[in-house]
Amino acid sequence: MVSINIQNLEKHYGKVKALHGLNLEIDDGEFIVLVGPSGCGKSTLLRCVAGLNPISGGDILFDGTPVGHLPPQERDLSMVFQNYALYPHLTVAQNLAFGLKVRKTSAEEIEKRVKWAADILAITPYLDRRPRALSGGQRQRVAMGRAMVKHSNAFLFDEPLSNLDAQLRVQMRKEIRALQQRIGVTSIYVTHDQVEAMTMGDRIVVMKDGRIEQVGSPAELYTAPRTRFVAGFIGSPQMSFVTAQADGHQMTLSDGSVLTCATAAQGPVTLGIRPEHFLDNSSEANRLTLDVTNQQVVGTSTSYFATLGDGEIEVIRQGSDTERPATLALGIRPEHIMVFGKDDHRIAA
């Protein structure tokens, strides 16, 4: 296992810049998740680390040794692909052993490691089967096993759960995380699903347009996003945004209502409020009466959509409320209102 240091990494496709001088330090044994919308460069970054995409500038260091110029064969990594990429003509056991055979590992050692991985992943009964005779979840486990047996420098995951159904995805999410903690291998995991990112990563790297927006623990990104993009991307349901005119701690919305914030600002700003931060308690500093425009019951909770100022906001409350109320009387604490400036950066309290 190694620490991975990404220094001023650039990737160009002709005139198009896919990665703009990225810097990132990943500790030995850390599970880091790259998250962002499609086209943000997260897979490109992963493939650069793997050596599958040649880099255009900067470097990648494993334990301080530059590897940016090395082909994938010489980086000693394991990778789990979105479509598993198992060798269709080989059995499960042969798939697991392939990388070890390439490295000329002894037959005894190969057998030992294949058995070890198969036992952990509960795929021993399928060792003689070909990949086409396996279900999606089983294939996923074989792909994991192929990564495990090599005892490589790091694991790279490229959206490995996106082809699984929702239930299996939740299960595999737990299994991958538990396995990574058990082996203690440095891991980079790419996903566009922020729930996956929040539940799996030691740290999350939020990317946008080939740049890193913010790096932090899941809790840090949720409670202290640095930009409006991160605030909107992290958290489910998504944060609601309304524009306002700031005068110190007083924020005047377009409909004339005034909210008090913990943050002081001047001029035009955007206010961000998480749906789960609205309170029933009307004794809070900010009291609001919202006109409900829509409502969705999601089992244990209900989402209400209402207009506030010039925007539509979402409010989430516990319980299944089948009858739609015309209005909702709610409160919001000043410290739960995030204020973003014209450059979409958060204005600190």
Binding site: L52, P71, P72, Q73, L77, F81, Y87, H89, K150
Partner: protein, 276 residues
């Protein structure tokens, strides 16, 4: 219900009629060739489908006039050797072009352009090249020419098979530590084996049937192929059609046998990429 049954019957009749017409269209020349091989010269001139007085003499006479069996053997040897040459070059070339991106834009266009050019323009340069390499009038020489001549066909056939393998399969092998050659032999070759077989068959058939280069680059009995042998039945004033048909029919047997035995792979190779 009755109407639909009748429709089905009508459909079947139409289908049967169409297939019968197609069968007659394609089989008639072969039947006519077979029939001609038993005709006397007078019968041939009459132009009837069936001989009036069948004779078996055309076969021994043809074999006595021209060394048919030797030429068939030469054809088979040239075709097999040229198939090997084509595949040895085409498989790595296709992999390098399609998967590794080597000359990805130029190679497909160049191969297509070279195949579209009339083969006769290559004849004189090839003549001198073979003479310099001391491969003129030899089976390896002709096999080399056929092997190179069939490269564009092989490249375009293999291209669809190689393209169909997801890039992640190669990448997984590279991540596993396999070099490009190792990936080609251990991962790609087994996956495109049906394509290689189909391509080999098509190249072998093309080489077996080739006449232009074979007639210009071989002179002796030791290297002449059966297609050249056919032309030897044509005298200055007289063509011995009966013997020619007997030799042609004998010459067809090996290639039809190969095509018959491997027809499943042939069809697979020719229809690859046409449906998803």
């Amino acid at each position: 219900m009755t109407a639909s049954v009748q429709d089905t019957r009508t459909d079947r009749l139409i289908r049967f009629g169409f297939l019968a017409a197609m069968l007659i269209f394609f089989a008639l020349p072969i039947v006519y060739l077979f029939s001609t091989s038993f005709k006397t010269p007078d019968d041939v001139l009459q132009g009837r489908l069936l001989p009036e007085a069948a004779t078996l003499k055309n076969y021994p006479n043809a074999f006595a006039h021209v060394p048919v069996l030797r030429m068939i053997w030469n054809s088979v040897a040239v075709a097999l050797l040229s198939g090997v040459i084509t595949l040895v070059i085409a498989v790595p070339a296709t992999y390098a072009t399609i998967k590794l991106g080597a000359f990805r834009r130029t190679v497909p266009n160049i191969t297509l352009a070279s195949y579209a050019a009339p083969p006769i323009i290559a004849l004189i340069p090839l003549f001198y090249l073979l003479q310099t390499a001391q491969l003129m009038d030899s089976i390896p020489g002709l096999a080399l020419v056929h092997g190179l001549m069939n490269l564009p066909v092989a490249f375009w056939l293999l291209k669809s098979f190689v393209s169909d393998i997801p890039a992640e399969i190669d990448e997984a092998a590279w991540i596993d530590g396999a070099g490009y050659w190792h990936t080609l032999f251990a991962v790609i070759l087994p996956l495109i084996f049906p394509g290689i077989l189909a391509t080999a068959l098509i190249c072998i058939i093309l080489s077996y049937n080739e006449f232009l280069f074979a007639s210009a680059l071989t002179f002796s009995e030791a290297s002449r192929t059966i297609t050249v042998g056919m032309s030897l039945f044509q005298g200055e004033r007289l063509v011995n059609f009966g013997q020619m048909a007997a030799a042609s029919f004998t010459g067809m047997v090996p290639i039809y046998l190969i095509a018959f035995l491997f027809q499943k792979h042939l069809v697979g190779g020719l229809t690859q990429g046409s449906i998803k």
